[in-house]
Symmetry: C2
Subunit: 337 residues, 2 copies
DNA sequence: TAAATTTATGACACCGGTGTCATAATGTAA
DNA sequence: TTACATTATGACACCGGTGTCATAAATTTA
C-alpha cells in the first residue's frame, strides 16, 4: 500500500498540488467542479494531509504545551481534560510538561522545551500564570500563551479564571451562617495567586460580620495533603479549639478530617470542615466535604480555545474572563451546637 | 534576530549542510577538525535543529501517544509520570489521548489520531493492552506499541506488567492470617485483564486455606468509586455480614469504607477493608487502606523506554517483564475479634 | 611512485506540504 | 467586438532537515 500524499491526489485528480492544497485549506478561487473532483479523490484514496509537512511549511506544530507544577493530581487531570477538549475540536494536540516552578532553571527548561518541540502556544496553569518573568520571556520569543486560574492582570494576555475571592467569601459566609465565629484558615501555596485571593475572601466575610480576625487561626499550607496534616495538627492543638476549619483546598481539608477523626473528634458535630475546588476526594470521604466547585475544565477549555484562535489569527482585544464558582454543601459542615 | 537553521550554520562554518547534518547525528566520516569547527558554530549561533523538519525528512514525529480510558485519575497521572520520564530522557514528547474503549468507533478514532499526529509509537495502558483487534490494527499500520499492566501474551510485543494475581493472593493471605474467613470481593472492570488476575489470586488464597469459595460474596465493580458504592451496599446488606472486604482497587475500597462509616460500622473493628493499587486516597482517608503497591510509574517508564529504543532500532527479542508488587498494611485491616 | 583503498566532503534530490507569482480562462464594461 | 477585471490554475521556490551518490583528499598497498 503506497503512501498517499498530496502529489498522488493531484495526479489522480488531474490537477496541480497547489490546487489540492487550496481545496484542503478552503481557499477561494477554486471552481466548484474542481473542488468536487478533488474532494472525490480525497475520499477515494482516503487521503489525510501530513501534519508534519504542513508544520514545516507553515512553521507550526499544531501542538499546545501545558505547563504545570501542582501537588493536586486531580487538578492536573481536570486541566488536561479541558485542554484536550479544546485541542480535539481544533485538531490540535496536547503536550504535557510538568516542571518545577522554583529555580532559575525554569526559563532554561522552557527554552529547551520550545526548541525541541516548536509549540504553537502554551497554557500556563497555576502557578505559572502569575510568573511575570515567564510571561515576558514567552513574549520575547513570540510564543502565544494563555493563563488559567491566575490573577487578573491589566495586560493583553488571554486569561480565564474564576473568582477565588468570592468563592472563599461565600464558603466563609456559609460557616458563619451556621453560627461559627472561630474559623481556622489554612492557606495554600504562597506562589499561587489563588492563595491570596482565598485568604482575602475569608477575611472579607469575617469583617462583614464584625468577627475579629485572629492571626493564630491561620496556618500556612501549600495545597498538598501533607501540608494539610501539619496545619491540622496545629489547629486541633489550639485551646480553645476553633469550631470550624476552612482549608484552601480539598486535599488539605481531607487531611484535617483525617486527623480530627483519628483524634476521635466527630465531624461536623465537634468541628466543621470546609474545603475548596470540589476535588473528587471531597465526595469520596465520609463525611463529604463542603466546598467550592470551580469550573476548572471549562476554564481551561476556554483558555485553550482562545489560544488556538489567537494563533490562527492574532486578536486585538484580550480575552479575559471570570467564571462563576458555586458553593456545594455536604456533611462536613453543620450548625454549631 | 534571524532564525538559525542548518544553512546558516553551514555557511558560517564554511561547510555544506550535509556535513553539518553529519555532525548533528554523530555520523562517521567527519574529520576531527571539521567537527570541532561545526560544533563551535553550534555554540556561537545557539543552534538547535528543527524537529519538524527532521520529522518530515525521516517521517518521524518524536512523539509517543498515550492511550487511556480509566476511571482512576490517579492511575492515569502515575502512568503519565512514568511515560514522561522515559520521554524526557530520550527527547521525545508525550501526547495524551483519552478515548473510549468500548464501541466500534475505537479503531476509527485511533486511525484518525495516527493520521493527524503521526505518532512514532503508542503506549497502551489498561485496558487497551488486552484488546487484540487494536494490537493487530497497529501492527498492520506498522506503528510500534508497548503494553503496560496487561496480560502476559506469547507474542513479540513490548510488555511491562506486575503480578496482579500474586498481589491479590498476598493481600487475601494477609486477611486470612488475621483470622478472616468470610471475605467479600469486589471485581474490577471486566475489560481489564487485571480484573481476572486479581480474582484468581483471591480464589487461590482461599483455596490454599481450604476456605470454600462463596459466590454470594462476590460483587461486580468497574474500578470506579461509584461502582464501589453499589457493591458496598450489597455486601453490607448481607446476612451474615462478611468480616472483611477486598476491593479490586482503592477507589472501590474507599467507597466501602465510606458506606460502612455512614452506617456506623467501625473499620476495622466491625469490618476489615483492603484495596489494591496504593492510590493516594488510600492514605488520605481514615483509617488508611491496606493495599497492594504496584510500581505503575516504573512499569510505564520501562515500557516507554523500550518502545523508544525499539523505534530507533527494532529489536529481535520481545521485552516482557513482570515487576514485583508489595503489600502495604494500614489501619483498615485488623485481626478478627 | 603509481595504483588501490579508504575517508571526507559536497551537490542535489527528496520528505509533503504552502506561498508567490505568472498566466490562462472567464466575466464584465465600454 | 474589444478592452479590462476578475477568477481559476499551475510552475516553481521554499520550509529545514536527511539520504544517495559522485568526487576529492588522504592513506595504504604494490
Amino acid at each position: 500500500m503506497k503512501k498517499v500524499t498530496i502529489n498522488s491526489v493531484a495526479s489522480h485528480a488531474g490537477v496541480s498540488k497547489k490546487t489540492v492544497s487550496r481545496v484542503l485549506n478552503n481557499e477561494p478561487n477554486v471552481s466548484a467542479a474542481t473542488r468536487e473532483k478533488v474532494l472525490a479523490v480525497f475520499k477515494e484514496l482516503d487521503y489525510t494531509p501530513n501534519p508534519i509537512a504542513r508544520g514545516l511549511a507553515q512553521n507550526r506544530s499544531f501542538i499546545i504545551g501545558c505547563l504545570y507544577d501542582n501537588p493536586s493530581k486531580s487538578y492536573i487531570t481536570r486541566v488536561q481534560t479541558g485542554a484536550l477538549e479544546a485541542c480535539k475540536e481544533n485538531n490540535y494536540n496536547l503536550l504535557i510538561h510538568p516542571c518545577e516552578f522554583r529555580g532559575e532553571a525554569l526559563i532554561n527548561n522552557i527554552e529547551q522545551l520550545l526548541q525541541t518541540s516548536r509549540l504553537d502556544g502554551i497554557v500556563l496553569t497555576p502557578p505559572f500564570g502569575d510568573f511575570a518573568e515567564l510571561a515576558s520571556f514567552l513574549k520575547s520569543k513570540k510564543i502565544p500563551y494563555a493563563r488559567v486560574a491566575s490573577a487578573l492582570l491589566q495586560d493583553d494576555s488571554i486569561s480565564v479564571r474564576s473568582n477565588d475571592e468570592q468563592g472563599a467569601f461565600e464558603i466563609t459566609e456559609h460557616l458563619i451562617s451556621l453560627g461559627h465565629t472561630s474559623i481556622a484558615f489554612i492557606k495554600g501555596h504562597p506562589d499561587h495567586s489563588a492563595t491570596q485571593q482565598r485568604f482575602k475572601g475569608y477575611r472579607r466575610s469575617l469583617a462583614s460580620h464584625g468577627i475579629e480576625f485572629d492571626e493564630r487561626l491561620v496556618e500556612e499550607g501549600n495545597f498538598s495533603y501533607h501540608s494539610g496534616v501539619d496545619s491540622a495538627r496545629s489547629i486541633l492543638d489550639l485551646c480553645p479549639r476553633p469550631t470550624a476549619v476552612f482549608a484552601s483546598n480539598d486535599y488539605m481539608a481531607a487531611a484535617v478530617l483525617k486527623l480530627a477523626t483519628q483524634r476521635q473528634l466527630k465531624v461536623p458535630d465537634d468541628i466543621s470542615i470546609a474545603g475548596f475546588d470540589n476535588a473528587p476526594i471531597a465526595r469520596h470521604i465520609w463525611p463529604g466535604l463542603t466546598t467550592i466547585a470551580q469550573p476548572v475544565e471549562e476554564m481551561t477549555k476556554q483558555a485553550v480555545t482562545q489560544l488556538i484562535s489567537h494563533i490562527a489569527q492574532p486578536q486585538e482585544q484580550p480575552y479575559q474572563v471570570t467564571l462563576e464558582s458555586r458553593l456545594i454543601t455536604r456533611e462536613s459542615t453543620s450548625a454549631i451546637k
